[in-house]
Symmetry: D2
Subunit: 156 residues, 4 copies
């Protein structure tokens, strides 16, 4: 599989129209490939929280949508994919600027997909948050996940 | 400690003005006591997601704010309390209605507070999501947490 | 459902023989009811870690087995129930004594069960750790979970 | 920082003597560098669980010790580093063989370190589990973490 199962335009439209709570903020897809996606959430003044940093729910929303996109990049437009759980760790107080999410799928099972997301503040090389999560997906044909992002000690 | 260290009015104002991304949706505090809070997020049409249910980030935002409120109920208006991590498990697809969060603090340390949140859809007795999370707080005087919500096998 | 779907004796034997890594330490079931279990892990000198406290993996092992027991209390001896994920928060440094786990199932779905575990050091009323986790179970008949351990804002 | 702050021999001895519950199984360090470690847990017949796979607590124990080693590779022999939380996702049923952990630190703060661990069954290129966790460490001099394992969208 060398091209994603959904296009950038389709995914941007699906986020904008399908999950407006997050999509309304104008998420932009920077890169899309099978099993990985990079997307950016422009800064919005409602993201502020005491201390002048970006509020956690904005980062969670971006991470959740990034994982959704990475799943759809493998199985196509399956809208009923739903998050079953997500863990997010906030690592640094992010400046009030745009946030970019880098997401990759680690496991693509028949019914569950699992992946991780690193979040970066614009201009800062170190991550501001890290999330992992599981999506429940309708049973589907197996998708061979190109192992990338890690080197297996057992080859691969 | 028998009265919360912040009033319902103060907390509602702090959520509305301090974290507008979530506060703008008109969160209402139903009950506040030291270490516990119940609050309700009215339904908003932007919460919809494919399948007609409420999107995960809306539930995460409510859970995060509920934990914030429960922390402040013990230490007062310390705006710089920040989430360090949160895990949320989605248990049922919630109907497009208001969501109520029940939050309690399980541990109140000198620098970290830890608690859990159950989320309920209006009219449904069973929870739609469960979250746990940690807040980092400025070093403060110890607060004796009235152990409630669980029965210790060791008395207490 | 008023009696557990597995007996104390059956569950103790299953833990001892089925998961010997943990079961070998002589876990004792203190209480078993549909959807809840209390069990105790006697102290063993191999649990020590630098600082003289109990090592995290001992607590994780107990929490995992407690969740397993609570699941089987609802569906009976289904050995192929497997953990899909678990989050554990360590709240206090536990003294080198026995640890008791209190576990309850929060959601019992057709394929997934979700619950939480509080861990207590012998003699200490406050919890030393809190875990939440999901078990994947073979598809089974719906089990009505007696809602206990929390009060729903919507009755129930 | 180009050499780890603890040697392979020191770390192996510390694991063997300091955390015997896990260390007794003969963990071997395959690779150690500042902020990353690879270590292998040989198979032991007590790891079995119903279904013939490796029990979750064995994998959790390895992940916890790997994170401990990666932290010490940056700050040296600080035995009082303690886990504050860990989330583990089980991705595949592991065969009854040795398990290798690949761990990297994602954030090294003044008081908290955060990292992730991928676990592999011997001979299988795809991961069987993924864990993330936080260690609390005594306040220490800042350690510059060589950003590796991910590419920041912001350079660096």
């Amino acid at each position: 599989m060398s091209t994603p199962a959904i296009t950038v335009e389709e995914l941007e439209a699906l986020i904008r129209e399908g999950v407006p709570l997050v999509g309304n903020f104008g998420i932009r897809i920077d890169h899309l490939a099978p099993g990985t996606v990079r997307m950016t959430l422009p800064y919005n003044e409602t993201f502020v929280r005491p201390g002048g940093t970006v509020t956690g729910p904005a980062m969670f929303g971006l991470a959740d949508v990034a994982l959704y996109g990475a799943v759809l990049s493998l199985i196509g437009r399956v809208e009923l994919a739903v998050t079953t759980n997500m863990t997010i760790n906030f690592l640094r107080r992010p400046a009030p600027v745009a946030i970019t999410a880098d997401c990759r799928i680690i496991k693509m099972g028949k019914r569950l997909a699992y992946g991780e997301v690193l979040l970066f503040s614009e201009g800062d090389p170190e991550p501001v948050a890290h999330a992992t999560g599981t999506y429940s997906i309708p049973p589907h044909e197996p998708v061979k996940l190109a192992v990338s992002g890690y080197q297996s000690p057992n080859g691969g």
